[in-house]
Amino acid sequence: MLPGRSILNRLSLLCLFAAPLVSAANSEREPIVVSEPQYGEVLYYFYQDDYFPAIVRLLAAQEQQQLIEHGEQAEVLLGGLFLSYGQHLEAAEIFERLLAGNADPDTRNRTWFFLAKIWYQRGYLEKSRSALANIEGDLPDNLQREALMLNAQILIDAGEYDAAIASLQNWKGRTEWASYAKFNVGVALVRSGRIDQAAELLNELGDMDPFNEELNALRDKANVALGYALLQDGQYYAAKAPLQRVRMEGPFSNKALLGVGWADAEMENYGRALVPWMELRGRDLLDSAVQESMLAIPYAMAKLDSISQAADHYLNAIEAFHEESNRLDRAIGRIESGEFFDAFVADYPLDSTGWYWELEKLPEGPEARYLFHVLASHEFQEGLKNYRDLNYLHRNLDEWQQNVDVYVYMLDTQQQAFEQRLPVVQDTLARTDVEGMVQHKLGLDATMDNIERSHDWLALATKSESDMWREVTEIADTPALGADIPEAAEVRDKTALIKGVLQWDLERDFNDRQWNVRRELQDVGEGLVQTQRSYRQIDEAVREETRRFAELGDRVYGLAPRVEGMKMRVEDSLSRQRAFLREIAIGELQAQKDRLDVYTIQARFALAAIYDISATAAEVPE
């Protein structure tokens, strides 16, 4: 496979902004050209949103210098993986280093935007602000709107309302983002006591023609915010109009109905106030507006001199508040005991899923209905992500701890087996006289050299030929053959002939035989070279294996305490994170309980006053 430059460039962009672009990439199905399998393996996990194993593999491949072709892309990918996994400080370090150079403006701007976003959500407001300031030129439309909103939000958080409003002045396009931003500025202005300015912004939102459900909800929310701001400012009549614009069935209708009632009550029109308040009867008591209406109704009735009815309503309210308070106690107990967090981890074993994940629904349980508001806070959401990640790390270290124990055992077994086999190998090596064999072979070479030099054809005769030559020579040398008789002459002729034929044959075959011997000697030589090589390899392997055992032993034994220590630190961090989340959750439940307590006291006080009035009235005729 050959590296494809353009595809890799596209990849690096895609990697940076994992989740938001993954779905888009899904539809495009762009094949990526990978020239190193380790890099492809990282991508395999990355594309499945398994960021933790992807990062581990990438770090391991970098450590082993296996990413040569993809070196630069791997670094960008690592930054993207860190960002996706919520490791924003690590990600920023990489990006600041890589993007300072020659990264294209689009990549640089997107990176700064995503860093700004994660930093804002994690409460690093200054970092978020400076990341946004690093964006040069325009982002793509969807990100540009979000960036503008983020910038306005940072200004609001810093109390710079005028700057926030000014930043939203040039908002272009028909979009929800502008409306959200305006709403946030409006609420911030209310908080700072600038009611008139807030009223202008919120009224604009509260009177808009929404084009989707999201904007409908925002419109209701703006009307409620405006209505209450005016109520607090003593503008009771003016408060009614925005409150009456809220939809009757929406999530803000309870607060709107309560507010409309209070506006009428403040104008001493108690009969009229009862109309919206009575509408709240039977709605979910979890809503603070419904709770308050249970006090407001008897309050108005008392004002209208319906004392007996008012007393009944106060009694009902006290009973209802008591039951609700008991339910809250049980929910607080479940959070304190840790059951809530256990259920959360059991419901969301999402392991290495990253920062883009958002919890939309709490695990089923008595506390879930009370924690609805808490879910909207960044600290709670991000805290839950940390809690989930820490749980994953704990499980991960737990598994490694078990594995390391197995590795210790495995290494010991391997070492034992090696030590048992080593003497046999060493004995065999000691008995093998490779040097003697080499000398012997060199001797044979020298003999062959002599045979060739002296053309000693007899030296290459086979055993039977040698035997025959010796026999014939012995016969020829027999003294009796020297006799001058015809029989001796005949034998002499025959032996001479035989010797001649034998010599002829041996001389004829000399070259072939010489070649064959030389070839065999060459084979022996090669065999000896191979033997020497194997000898060296075995010798090296023995030394290498000994060194390997020592090195692996150091690592395995060194890692075990590291894993243990890290596990303890994770446990410590886990309990700190749990305490933080518990504090937020219990704080929310306790606030609801405190409110119920205040209402209960108010109801009891009002009831006592009613009884007092009734008793006084009863005494009058006497």
Binding site: I55, E63, R122, R191, Y228, H373, N403, R548, R555
Partner: protein
């Protein structure tokens, strides 16, 4: 982007609807609480960030140790599955035999196939093999063009030398006959 909660205005109303001063006081106090909570979160978050980085580095060391321990470089052979385009083949599973012995039978999920199609490479098997000649047989099972069941094999005879060896089993598209092709490649 989360909206600013109506908290300040609403909670002021809940307690005493007409008391603007008290509402402002509560709003200020809520703001201070937000800041304190944010600071606390940041402190924990910085700890968690540092810890996560350390655990990642520890995992890297453990990953390398595991590989070196279980698959020493001299005998290590890694088998990878990759896909190029993948238009004509929907992968279900891969079966791998080395020297006639089945060593892996991997069933792919949709998510994993998607990761392969987009350029991911899956390490399907790791083995320790002696130096010398070996035979690899890979059977790819899935669906071919027109959703027809598809089962194809590919074979490679390879020489394992000293040092790690990587073998890639690649599924590619042959455009002209509109058929998938299965290729086995060696990487040293």
């Amino acid at each position: 982007m989360t909206l600013l909660a109506l908290g300040a205005t609403a909670s002021a109303q809940d307690a005493a609807p007409m008391d603007a001063d008290r509402a402002a006081e509560q709003a200020r106090s809520a703001g201070a609480q937000d800041a304190a909570s944010r600071d606390q979160f940041r402190s924990i978050d910085q700890d968690v960030q540092a810890l996560k980085k350390e655990v990642l580095n520890l995992n890297r060391d453990l990953f390398l140790l595991e590989e070196e321990l279980l698959f020493p470089a001299n005998s290590q052979v890694a088998f990878f599955i990759s896909m190029d385009v993948g238009e004509y083949f929907d992968l279900d599973s891969v079966n791998i035999k080395i020297d006639g012995k089945e060593v892996a039978n991997y069933l792919y999920t949709e998510r994993e196939v998607d990761a392969l199609v987009r350029g991911g490479v899956h390490r399907v098997h790791m083995a320790n093999l002696k130096t010398g000649d070996h035979e690899l047989v890979a059977i790819f099972v899935g669906h071919g063009p027109h959703q027809r069941e598809y089962r194809r094999g590919a074979t490679l005879n390879f020489d394992k030398t000293i040092g790690a060896k990587y073998v890639e089993l690649e599924i590619t598209d042959r455009v002209k006959p509109q058929q998938p092709e299965f290729i086995i490649k060696e990487w040293e």
